[in-house]
């Protein structure tokens, strides 16, 4: 069966997704994952990708010639919304594979690269992003990881950091410096790196929330075939803009929808059990204010999606505004949950079994929103300078 057969009628399409989710999502998956080892979690993520693949929902947003279904934005919203409603697992392991890689290869890849790599994702190929370096974070364009041409290969030496899921990745979207003498944005070249190449060493980094989801990459004389270059030599910065722009879409949308269901379930449960915080007028007021902000944030996320299909979307600062408002809101909501959970909320627990079941874990994890993908301070610079025309000093 393919859910895609129902795509011509949006409500039938939704219903088909709903039926499939009801059948396939294990009701206890959160409880199981709360106690899972890293290996079990990764195996689970791969299983979920395979299940999505079976019904045509692995890469439904890609063009048909590369194995996708060419679904419209409206269909994608429906998929994300149904996933969130069903509290189905997210495909976190495949974020770069599903968003950043096609966002880069579709506009800038060679035909051979698209054929080789795009369809691989439906078969479970994991990608990571090797952009940041220890000394190049906010100032990404200052990156120093060296690539030197050697016949029909490039030889890579350097270090990358904070690369999410790099421990499990098959391929890496790698930014390197090919011309150290050029102005910093002009000497960058973009590669696809096979993570199994000799000379690639990955060390996981432990996060404040207790998990180790990102890693450090040590690259020593790694040989990458020249055909793995995306775009032209020294034109990597322009290509990288496509990667960064791709983050603005459906992932944050789905996050916003998930938060809606989480918070609704939390409130319903609070009413059911007569939670103590409900009797505190101040907390109650704070809570309803969050809801107003949350609805506005969800509407803004829809605007970003609509806008992304229009000309001139790349000049808009709306994605930055949305990132600022929704990540800070997420942090404040999690902080509220920590406060109302009192001492119980301070007990160590790695993963949430229930929505907001481990508020400290969620609170700490919320920093990934305010730091990753360009910190909120950098987003403010973008809004002020690009959006409001304020001078750079």
């Amino acid at each position: 069966m393919s859910i895609l057969d129902a795509q011509h009628d949006l409500s039938a399409f939704r219903q088909a997704i709903r039926d499939w989710l009801a059948e396939v999502v294990p009701p206890d998956w959160k409880a199981r994952m709360a106690r899972a080892s890293n290996e079990e979690y990764i195996a689970f993520q791969r299983w979920w990708m395979a299940e999505r693949s079976k019904v045509g929902l692995a890469i439904p947003h890609w063009p048909k010639e590369y194995g996708g279904a060419g679904l419209s934005q409206r269909h994608l919203i429906a998929v994300a919304d149904e996933m969130a409603r069903a509290d189905a697992p997210q495909n976190r392991l495949f974020t770069i594979s599903l968003i950043h890689m096609p966002g880069t290869l579709l506009p800038h890849g060679t035909e051979a690269q698209k054929r080789r790599y795009l369809s691989g994702v439906a078969n479970g190929e994991v990608w990571c992003q090797g952009f940041s370096e220890p000394n190049s974070g906010s100032d990404l364009a200052s990156l120093r990881c060296r690539a030197v041409r050697d016949g029909d290969h490039y030889v890579i030496n350097g270090q990358k950091i904070w690369s999410s899921n790099s421990m499990y990745a098959d391929h890496c979207l790698l930014l390197t410096r090919t011309d150290p003498n050029a102005q910093k944005h002009r000497g960058i070249t973009y590669f696809i790196m096979d993570m199994r190449s000799p000379g690639v060493e990955v060390r996981p980094i432990r996060q404040a929330n207790g998990r180790a989801e990102f890693g450090e990459l040590f690259l020593t004389d790694v040989r990458i075939p020249a055909e793995n270059m995306i775009g032209a030599e020294n034109d990597g910065w322009r290509v990288a803009q496509a990667t960064l722009a791709s983050e603005r879409g459906v992932i944050s949308f789905e996050g916003g929808e998930r938060q809606r269901y989480e918070i609704e379930a939390f409130y319903r449960n609070s009413l059911k059990v007569g939670a103590a915080w409900l009797k505190d007028a101040q907390l109650h007021r704070e809570f309803v204010s969050f809801l107003a902000e949350m609805q506005a944030a969800r509407r803004l996320l829809r605007r970003v999606l609509e806008e992304s299909e229009t000309q001139g979307a790349s000049a808009s600062v709306l994605p930055s505004i949305v990132k600022l408002s929704s990540t800070v809101l997420r942090q404040r909501i999690c902080s509220f949950m920590v406060r109302i959970s009192g001492m119980d909320g301070q007990a160590f627990a790695l993963l949430a079994e229930e929505p907001f079941g481990s508020p400290m874990f969620d609170f700490l994890s919320a920093f990934s929103g305010t730091i990753a993908g360009g910190t909120n301070e950098i987003q403010r610079n973008i809004v002020a300078e690009r959006g409001l025309g304020m001078p750079r000093v």
């Binding site: 000394n135 007990a347 400290m360 403010r380």
Partner: protein
């Protein structure tokens, strides 16, 4: 309910307090630096035990205990200095519970209780526990026996527990009691769950209301001082990092947006420190508004500290989100501090009630006493 704080000892002069701060700071910066602290958090050393033994020898644990019971008789001012310095280094150990229980026994215990426990607490031979939150008690009393389950602040090997059981406040000897250490996000603090079955208290405090007020106030001062110290320290560490971390060809400390953030943190810290000092001073001179200001110091300062430590994570960028840097340790301690004693909303309600009572009695609660 308004009770006045009674200090049983005379107040030390400023020079003595400064000397105390310096000596505590010297020991802690040397023995509880970032490296040792991280090793402790990862279970690789027994820093809490090492520091505790030393604290006993150096007299820190008897700072607030009168000399006749083996202490130094430096009252709240000395205690707040110690807690502030412990907070600065995020030092592990059951200081808040032990010193607050001891102080409460000094103030509202009977002679036998003082003579039995204070010398042993002052030397560090034993530690004490208190309820992690005072507004929910899991203990009940039937006849002489105390039963029930409760989450406690303090080391799982604490010798005694000071807690309410129905409307009495009791001291329970924990020898042989069923205790289980709880694992918290803040690994620098000890919390455990206790289950008592018809345990015979070794003492019942004569005045429950005064005991509750004294413990609330002492804990509030301790937690506020710990938070203020922690917030100041992580702010200093963050600013030091910002001065060395370079992006866009210069130290990130040079960006005006970040300078303003740092200046705002410094402002909040200055305010927080004065809140603690005000509450301590009202306590030392035994004012009727002492409890009010202690409750407010705890609620305001712990929330400021959560704000500050959160910002310090953000100002570090990616490294702030790692386990290996300092900010998360301070943030987790700040979040635990925030919920200790009772929710800040409840403490503010208590403060509001105290304010109303003092004002209705025709007095002012707003004297600075300077």
């Amino acid at each position: 309910m308004v009770t006045s704080a009674i200090e049983t000892t005379s107040t030390p002069d400023q020079a003595t307090l400064d000397a105390l701060r310096e000596s505590v700071a010297n020991v802690l910066t040397e023995q509880c630096d970032s490296t040792e602290l991280h090793a402790f958090v990862d279970g690789k050393n027994a820093l809490d035990k090492i520091l505790w033994a030393q604290a006993g020898q150096l007299g820190w644990l008897g700072l607030g205990i009168p000399e006749q019971f083996g202490g130094l008789g430096m009252c709240s001012q000395g205690l707040v200095i110690l807690h502030g310095e412990l907070g600065r280094q995020s030092a592990p150990g059951p200081y808040i519970a032990t010193l607050s229980a001891a102080q409460t026994i000094v103030e509202t215990g009977d002679e036998a209780m003082r003579a039995t426990w204070l010398p042993r607490l002052a030397s560090g031979e034993v530690s004490a526990a208190v309820p992690a939150t005072l507004d929910v008690s899991g203990l009940t009393r039937s006849g002489a026996g105390v039963s029930g389950a409760m989450r406690c602040l303090g080391a799982a090997d604490a010798a005694l527990l000071l807690a309410p059981a129905d409307d009495a406040w009791v001291v329970v000897d924990l020898d042989g009691a069923e205790v289980a250490a709880a694992s918290m996000w803040d690994r620098t603090r000890d919390v455990f769950d206790v289950r008592l079955e018809d345990a015979t208290p070794v003492g019942v405090l004569p005045d429950s209301a005064a005991t509750r007020a004294a413990l609330t106030r002492t804990l509030a001062l301790a937690v506020a001082a710990d938070s203020a110290g922690g917030a100041r320290s992580i702010t200093e560490r963050t600013i030091a990092y910002m001065k060395t971390r370079e992006q866009f060809g210069r130290p990130i400390a040079g960006f005006q947006a970040l300078k303003h953030r740092a200046a705002d943190l410094a402002t909040k810290l200055a305010v927080a420190d004065e809140m603690v000092r005000h509450a301590v001073q009202r306590t030392v001179t035994g004012e009727p508004d002492a409890d009010l200001w202690a409750s407010l110091a705890k609620s305001e300062v712990t929330e400021a500290c959560v704000f500050i430590t959160t910002d310090c994570v953000q100002l570090h960028g990616g490294v702030g989100f790692t386990w290996d840097f300092d900010p998360h340790i301070f943030l987790k301690r700040a979040r635990l501090n925030e919920v200790l004693i009772m929710a800040n909303t409840a403490l503010r309600d208590q403060a509001a009630a105290a304010l109303a009572a003092i004002t209705a009695s025709g007095r002012s609660a707003l004297e600075l006493g300077l």
